[in-house]
Symmetry: C2
Amino acid sequence: MKLQPRDRKHLLRAALGEVRCDLLVKNARLVNVLTGEIYPANVFVDSGMIAHVEYRNLEADLEKAEEVIDAGGAYLIPGFIDAHVHIESSMMTPRNFAKAVLPKGTTTVITDPHEIANVWGVEGVRYMHDASQDLPMRQLLDIPSCVPAVPGMENAGAAFLAPEILELSGLDRTAGLAEVMDFLGVAQGDQRMLDIIAAAESRGLYLQGHAPGQTGRVLSAYRCGGPSTCHESSSGEEALEKLRSGISVDARDSSILKNVESIWSGVKDVRFFDQLCFCTDDREADEILEHGHVNDVVRNAIACGMDPVAAIKSATFNAAREAHIDNLGAVAPGFAADFLLVDDLRELRPSHVFFAGKLAAKDGKLTAEIPDRSFPLEKRNSVCVRELSEEDFTLRVSLPDGRAAVNLLEYPDPVVPVTVRGRAEAAVRGGRILLEDPDLRYVAVVNRYPGRDTIGLGVVRGFGLRSGALASTVSHDSHNLTIVYGRPENALLAARELIRCGGGMCAVENGEVLYTLELPLAGLMSLLPAEELAVCSQRMKEAERRLGLTALENPLLRIVTLALPVVPDLKMSDLGMVDVLRKELVPLLAEEDARRER
Amino acid sequence: MKLQPRDRKHLLRAALGEVRCDLLVKNARLVNVLTGEIYPANVFVDSGMIAHVEYRNLEADLEKAEEVIDAGGAYLIPGFIDAHVHIESSMMTPRNFAKAVLPKGTTTVITDPHEIANVWGVEGVRYMHDASQDLPMRQLLDIPSCVPAVPGMENAGAAFLAPEILELSGLDRTAGLAEVMDFLGVAQGDQRMLDIIAAAESRGLYLQGHAPGQTGRVLSAYRCGGPSTCHESSSGEEALEKLRSGISVDARDSSILKNVESIWSGVKDVRFFDQLCFCTDDREADEILEHGHVNDVVRNAIACGMDPVAAIKSATFNAAREAHIDNLGAVAPGFAADFLLVDDLRELRPSHVFFAGKLAAKDGKLTAEIPDRSFPLEKRNSVCVRELSEEDFTLRVSLPDGRAAVNLLEYPDPVVPVTVRGRAEAAVRGGRILLEDPDLRYVAVVNRYPGRDTIGLGVVRGFGLRSGALASTVSHDSHNLTIVYGRPENALLAARELIRCGGGMCAVENGEVLYTLELPLAGLMSLLPAEELAVCSQRMKEAERRLGLTALENPLLRIVTLALPVVPDLKMSDLGMVDVLRKELVPLLAEEDARRER
């Protein structure tokens, strides 16, 4: 992809000095990520692009600009590029997301609208595209590759195959095929994945990868299948093997996972970092406001010992190359005029943020105008569920009163989202499974898409809920209505609340709604700006803590991966309990009782 | 561009270790240009690609290959990539060129068939493509962008505009738009160049540049116009400015110009070399045989002080990225299995050369079979000139007997191909200009293409020819029949000789042909293999030395740029003397005598 100037001929004349350019930023210390040098320079901008960088004669042509800004000796660095992000995970619309991240210096994001694609399909991706069309930042789209994540084990709101990829590649601002998560499918030559990859390659898209924990021959096969990046490295050893294997490492510090420190420890002795980038993946509004965005990730890398200029290069030029964007990520003629002024190369808090040659933010405040626009999809309720009753949340078995052994998913750790397969003894009364152990809870995953009527019921141990019910329509990756509860009446109340408001998260206790975080856009996103959303988010966290979820710093994250059947070992879906590695459904009753039931 | 395996599914199974792969090279010391590390490794190859690199357990899976080669601890490095070369300048066919460069370790060349395009147009480019179709090396084509080099100042055999670019982009193995030489046209927004660039960009081609000596705002404007590389840097300062300006530097050691040493002196303190590559541009058969090809250029850089691993990376991975080839230039899974075994990282003389996973050369000898194939174009005489007479080589003026002042092109230096505008007094006898000064010679440029009948006549000083006539159809870039001579009868003999044999170079003295280097293919290339051509080339050089051209180490190079109207100040074309910078024709007679003539 090559970014184009608004007016090529005017740009050329401005470069030659024949006409005034739009903007001159003088008296800067240029951080040239192309060479690694830092030197005094004046930067001339026109038609959205860098027209000329003058470093020999700093008094030359100072009058040849419509506007002159004196950098006062500040460092001038390229705007940050997020190599991989789901905007939906910020729970903000693309426009509100822009308002939040621009003051932090993020001028480009490579987005994967995977979440909304699972809800609204092609229409959802189009919405993310249209809603970011005229922003003072670049939201480039990678096309979701794995919708749903695990076909056959869950029902999402859409299913993407090669035709959907081809259709969406026609949008402006598509850069790649988004994180190809089905790494086994790719490595084993699954025809669906090969077709999707071939479709993307036929349109010149780069292939963004996703291979958590993969190593050795499986990793080699995955790379041979096409994907050339991965943002899932969690250990230094894993990251080093990926760099050696020709897989770009997008080092991630998300709200869920902080990987940068351990990655750096493993790769710091490497000589070439052409393939190292940074990403936020999933970062919530309050964390963006408090800590920052890509600048925070880069800051973390520098704090670990990475050289600041190399780290800035990773977050700019390297990321642009990874996404095959020719003229982005450096301050040089013909490159997009996205750049920042910063006083401190380790803190990276921009005093000025320029996008396409225009001031977009200053001293942490947005200065560019982002007019409100509304879209039909923002008002459409995506939670499509029939009238429910308590019966829908009751675990029934055809067994006489007594006891039964049930399979369940068990969290060994109160924080880590990994589960194992467990079992428990439960009482059977009137054909119902009754849970007596206070560490056991029911879980329901209610399909919320038209034409489906599936509800998966199961049992979970160690989730952390001590009372009431917790419900969420943010529930990766199918985003079905997921509820953890002790009593069906609480589950029903929480479900009805989210169906009413079009989705979000809801905490119920003793027949009363404690709090609802309303996310009416696709059941994933709020229409509120970051500052207001952060307040609501805090209140939701407080409500969750009241229900017992005190172990996690961010309790919102507990329920959202309970129905994610790509993270081992056992997860829930609207079809029931899923054995992730075997890709098969697991019955509620343990084998001996299942035989009794028959 | 992404290189594809012969059989994707087999490659994946081989990577997984489920089937035997085609080849295992074990016991190697891998030079991983992605990380800059060197470590012991076994490399598994299948379907033309690297399937897996094993470095943890060097005893694993040694039986899982159809063929096993023991590297004996040698370094294993990626095959070399020539970032910019005119195969025509080797005077060999694409197939014979491959035979010569493969044993030196060059497995990929980014070729610019600019020379044959000026002779045979689209058909010539198609020939270069078709003749390299099934070779055990990659000859990737950049589409010539400037045919002819200077429209209006010369007539070549073809003219390329946007439609020709679009047509040729449909060929397999097209990578980019070749060296965009009209740097002023680009910088000034000339519509012809903008259209050609837009056509190339619409097909996803990268834009190879050419901006000799350009600096400051003109260089910025050129970069804003699109081209992102340059192989014309001759000084270190020039190279450094280009790197800073986002222009990849293809450091060149050709038969004509050795730039690597001075470039390195200027950029050695830079921290990042992502944008540094190497190229040969124009290198003749004897030099390839004696000194090498890309390996020789890399060796020169290392001898200047560049780190060997960084230099190898420049000549492999960097060059692939410059040409936008995703999976080439590194030894990692999913990359093309082009690699070398070398015992010495500074000498870089490969003991084994593998192309697409097959042994192509060993111990300096070609082992792959390159069957002879013939093409109609190889037998077609491209020298299309009407019957000539001595009169055609006579400089006539409408002046009475006496003296006249003539404009001329003057070589201030016996070696450097740069000329200045000069003047001289000459005798006029019977309406003819007679040159008495032995340092003056006549020069004729005879258009050799159908439908044209133009002959440009002029005078040259300091060319170096002391007796006889020297003629060549290799005459950049239009490759018209160019002759330097003292007496018309010698010029006529030389012209007739080259018309007869379909082009080449010819030395005549005292009415006798001393030697003819026959280049029947487009008047540019021989059909002989390198070893035989080198002998003929030596004999031609000897003949030229006998005529007085003793100052240059390689006298063949003197005449070939005499009609190159992009190198200042004055050059010849079939239309006469050309003022290069003003882009205007210069009359033979100096102004006062021109007025007398009227």
